[in-house]
């Protein structure tokens, strides 16, 4: 086991190097020169050069790349080019709001999707199954933007159940007042694809020999489903959730923008709009590292849940 973990950790290095090279070259060749943005409305070539020198983008690419590597090693990505805020401070202050929305969203969404998926898997081929699957296909084809616009309009504006947007001071206020609509939208968006995916996981298990054996032993259908099938189907479900996490953190920008949540996703978009390379670098590296760690954790979890799994 230890040998496996060490091998996997070693594999992080070339993967991370690939990510570093990709983001570095994308920024330098596609991202645009930030000096022109920071220089303001009226600037002369000398001022542009001064800014480029201060940002270090006038250095040879090899040196810039080496600085990037050193930043990863030290975990210090410096300060935002546009706001002067430390990148570490950006993550420290934006992570909380993102998690306030994402953790309940994932928990509620997963529970609802699992319950619905188990039901339709159990009723496979029935009218209910077909109706729900058709509904899921339709729901999945609708853009997240439509969900946001409609839910915000109906639930916040017309019915007045929630504030249209905003963010408060206390955790309780944010969770119970400002995050609820965002969580509802997030759950509504994720429900359809999750039900379809989890249904396939449940169907894989329901058709296994051990389920037939359990039924032959006279176990109740409830016990077969809730104990035997659920336990085995939970492995790919947990893996799926873990793999979604890093991407969700940076990818929830639309929800964060519409509902005024000061989270990581919104910060990423701002950084891209402003060509704020220190923030872009940090986000990319953190998401890459988180994805690799989660992948490793998922593999170890497999082994823990199912001893038949061989780690090579």
């Amino acid at each position: 086991m230890l040998g496996y973990v060490v091998r996997r950790l070693w594999q992080f290095v070339p993967t991370l190097l690939g990510v570093v090279l990709l983001v570095f070259f994308l920024f330098n060749f596609v991202g645009g020169d930030p000096a022109y943005l920071l220089a303001g409305k009226i600037s002369n070539p000398a001022q542009i050069e001064n800014i480029r020198r201060q940002l270090g983008v006038d250095q040879p690419y090899a040196i810039q790349l080496w600085i990037f590597v050193k930043q990863i090693a030290s975990g210090d990505f410096g300060a935002s080019w546009s706001t002067n805020e430390r990148v570490s401070e950006i993550f420290a202050t934006r992570l909380g709001p993102s998690l306030t929305v994402l953790v309940p969203l994932l928990a509620i969404g997963t529970l609802l999707a699992m319950a619905a998926a188990m039901l339709v898997a159990y009723l496979r081929g029935s009218l209910t199954d077909r109706a729900i699957m058709v509904g899921c296909t339709v729901a999945q084809s609708i853009s997240i933007l439509v969900y946001i616009l409609v839910f915000q309009y109906v639930l916040a504006y017309q019915l007045g159940w929630f504030p249209v947007q905003g963010w408060g001071i206390t955790f309780a206020e944010n969770l119970l007042r400002y995050s609820v609509l965002a969580i509802i939208v997030g759950v509504a968006v994720s429900l359809a694809p999750d039900i379809r995916l989890y249904r396939s996981f449940f169907l894989d298990e329901i058709n296994q020999d051990y389920v037939r054996t359990a039924r032959a032993k006279g176990l109740s259908e409830r016990r077969v489903l809730w104990v035997h099938v659920l336990r085995n189907a939970a492995i790919p479900i947990v893996t799926n959730i873990l793999l979604q996490l890093p991407g969700l953190l940076a990818g929830a920008f639309l929800i964060e923008r519409f509902f005024g949540i000061p989270g990581i996703g919104r910060e990423v978009i701002l950084a891209v709009e402003r060509s704020d390379f220190p923030v872009i670098k940090a986000v990319t590296v953190y998401v890459a590292v988180a994805t690799m760690i989660v992948n490793l954790a998922a593999d170890l979890l497999y082994k823990a849940i199912d001893p038949r799994v061989q780690l090579k």
Partner: protein
């Protein structure tokens, strides 16, 4: 709810109300104005920001020497932290300001418990900061090349790596604590406007040094508000500065009935009336529009996309909003949008088909300009919320000529004839070729945004109508800026909003020596430059107007720009907002507003 529980609740409420002391019942709720920004701020250190939204907060916190009369139109300078307008020497090079006595910075730990008076030294220090290369100030252009001795100090700082704030500067003298003498290298009739710009407000050196790189999030000023709570890119909460010197609302209204109404409501009141301002960053139009309609915000003016929802075609508020007491204030922004051509003969090594002063090149630019229907742009893209721009100086800005009419009409038929006359013949594919037979392709640079895509489509339709092939060069915004600063683009549509309300701020966009700085059309005309240099030494008046008129004609004859439009700003206000009228130059009106009790207060 049952009748019994309702009765019990009412009775409990009555007992509670009786128990509350009368004085407490009479206490007014705090007057907190709730507004939105449609883009995130970047910080509140005057030398480090360039965005409009950060400028709004800076204006509320810091005190410039001068400001603008709230009601006078066109905008009129008045004293702010200075006791009066400056004494200007006869040669126009020397400005003397007397700073008000007894004005204090807001209390801050940087002052170590002492009251800190605002002095002339603070302005001298604040202006020097714009020259410090370490700050790479985006608004350094307001000061660069103007004050005697400071450019030299900036050069020394570049060489030594640090700016010497204590070095004596001939152009920036403080003979006593409350007198500031500024000496300019050459007369500049607009310099007073620079000193009224929000970023020209005074900072305290102790505060700047105490907070160092954190200064953008720790603004300490002597203005009417102070920063109470700040969640970056999300919420900015300002509180009335308890130590603010105060001001009386004392403005003379013009003939506008709205101004008269405001004056009758506000005259003689002590400012600020608000206890605070709460700014929420809301990037999405739907969020801002719904929040306003739900009463979650008090003023909203960033609603171009949904303007037809609340306005009739003739610019009036729809009856359902009038019934709710919503107020509408409409002003034309002090800005122009324009399509411009790169006037250089070559772009890098390649010939530029739209550049140069040859007759056939002028004919091509003219034909392109004549094919573009500005009215369609206003109707389709602006949704009627803009007016045609005919003059480079927009309405509300000194030097504007409302009687001027453009030489360039919308006339695609004449444009086609012009191209035929100058040898731009159509090929088998239906598109024209250059007079020498080379392919003719116009490349318009724009960003990959939805709004720019609409402009691209309109331009494509226009150029198709004259048989000219258009390619769209999509670039991210920073790259677009780089292209135009280096004269490597062919055409682009752009906007320019006034930094100060004077025509010079617009005319300098065509001045030859400003190529690579702000003259993004890369236009070099001796005739234009000669007139501009003369105009720069003149204050607003008939002589300068005549020069501006001639310069505009020259620009049109050479067809450097096609002027497009100036947007209309529709500010919606809740019924309880008192005293609002959009000022053409000030970033915010918060200092001059009051809030009446809301229904339910």
């Amino acid at each position: 709810m049952s009748l019994g529980s309702h009765w019990r609740r009412s009775a409990a409420s009555a007992v509670f109300l009786l128990a509350v002391p009368a004085a407490l019942q009479a206490a007014d709720p705090p007057k907190i104005l709730r507004v939105t920004f449609q883009a995130a701020e970047t910080g509140f250190d005057p030398v480090r920001v360039s965005d409009y939204y950060s400028g709004q907060i800076i204006e509320a916190i810091f005190d410039p020497l001068l400001t603008y009369d709230y009601l006078a139109r066109p905008a009129k300078l008045v004293a702010n932290a200075a006791e009066s307008l400056p004494e200007i020497s006869s040669d126009g090079r020397s400005y003397v300001f007397r700073i008000r006595k007894g004005v204090y910075f807001a209390d801050d730990p940087a002052f170590k418990g002492r009251k800190r008076e605002l002095t002339a030294l603070d302005y001298a220090y604040s202006f020097k900061r714009f020259y410090d290369p370490r700050h790479r100030s985006p608004y350094a252009f307001l000061f660069t090349g103007k004050i005697v001795g400071l450019d030299e100090l900036a050069e020394q700082a570049k060489a030594s790596g640090s700016f010497d704030y204590d070095a004596p500067v001939a152009g920036l003298q403080t003979p006593d604590r409350h007198t500031l003498v500024i000496r300019l290298k050459q007369p500049d009739p607009n310099f007073s406007h620079v000193l009224a710009y929000p970023l020209s407000g005074a900072v305290a050196r102790e505060a700047i040094e105490a907070y160092g790189d954190e200064s953008p999030s720790h603004p300490v000023g002597s203005g009417p508000f102070l920063l109470k709570r700040y969640t970056r890119s999300s919420k900015i909460v300002l509180a009335a500065n308890p130590g603010y010197r105060g001001k009386l609302w004392d403005f003379v209204p013009g003939d506008d009935p709205r101004q008269r109404e405001i004056a009758s409501q506000m005259q003689g009141k002590r400012l600020p009336r608000l206890d605070g301002v709460e700014v929420s960053i809301m990037e999405e139009t739907q969020s801002r529009w719904l929040a306003f309609q739900r009463g979650e915000t008090d003023i909203e003016y960033q609603l171009w996309d949904v303007a037809p929802t609340f306005m009739t075609d003739d610019g009036k508020l729809r009856p359902e909003f009038v019934r709710r007491g919503i107020q509408l204030d409409r002003t034309i922004d002090p800005e122009i949008t324009y399509l411009y051509f790169n006037m250089q003969e070559r772009i890098g090594e390649a010939p530029n088909p739209v550049g140069g002063f040859g007759k056939e090149r002028i004919a091509l630019r003219r034909a392109i300009a004549m094919s573009y229907k500005v009215e369609d742009q206003i109707r389709i893209i602006r949704k009627g919320q803009a007016v045609r721009a005919e003059y480079p100086v927009p309405p509300g800005v000194a030097g504007h000529d409302p009687g001027y009419r453009s030489l360039i009409p919308y006339d695609p038929r004449a444009a086609n004839e012009l191209l035929e006359k100058f040898g731009y013949r159509k090929g088998a594919d239906g598109y024209r070729r250059q007079p020498d037979g080379a392919p003719l392709v116009i490349r318009n640079a724009s960003t990959p945004t939805e709004r720019d895509r609409q402009f691209d489509e309109l331009l494509k339709r226009s150029l198709d109508s004259i048989g000219v092939r258009l390619e769209i060069q999509k670039e991210r915004f920073p790259e677009l800026l780089k292209l135009e600063k280096q004269c490597r683009h062919m055409t682009r549509m752009a906007a320019w909003i006034a930094d100060y309300p004077d025509g010079d701020n617009f005319m300098q966009l065509l001045y030859g020596p400003n190529v690579n700085e702000s003259n993004n059309a890369c236009y070099r005309s001796k005739e234009f430059d000669r007139r501009y240099e003369k105009s720069r030494r003149l204050a607003d008046g008939p002589e300068r107007d005549r020069l501006y008129h001639e310069m505009t004609r020259l620009m049109e004859v050479d067809t450097v720009w096609l002027l497009l439009d100036s947007r209309i700003r529709n500010a919606l206000q809740q019924p309880h907002v008192v005293g609002f009228t959009k000022h053409p130059v000030l970033h915010t009106e918060w200092l001059y507003l009051d809030l009446a009790p809301r229904s339910g207060d």
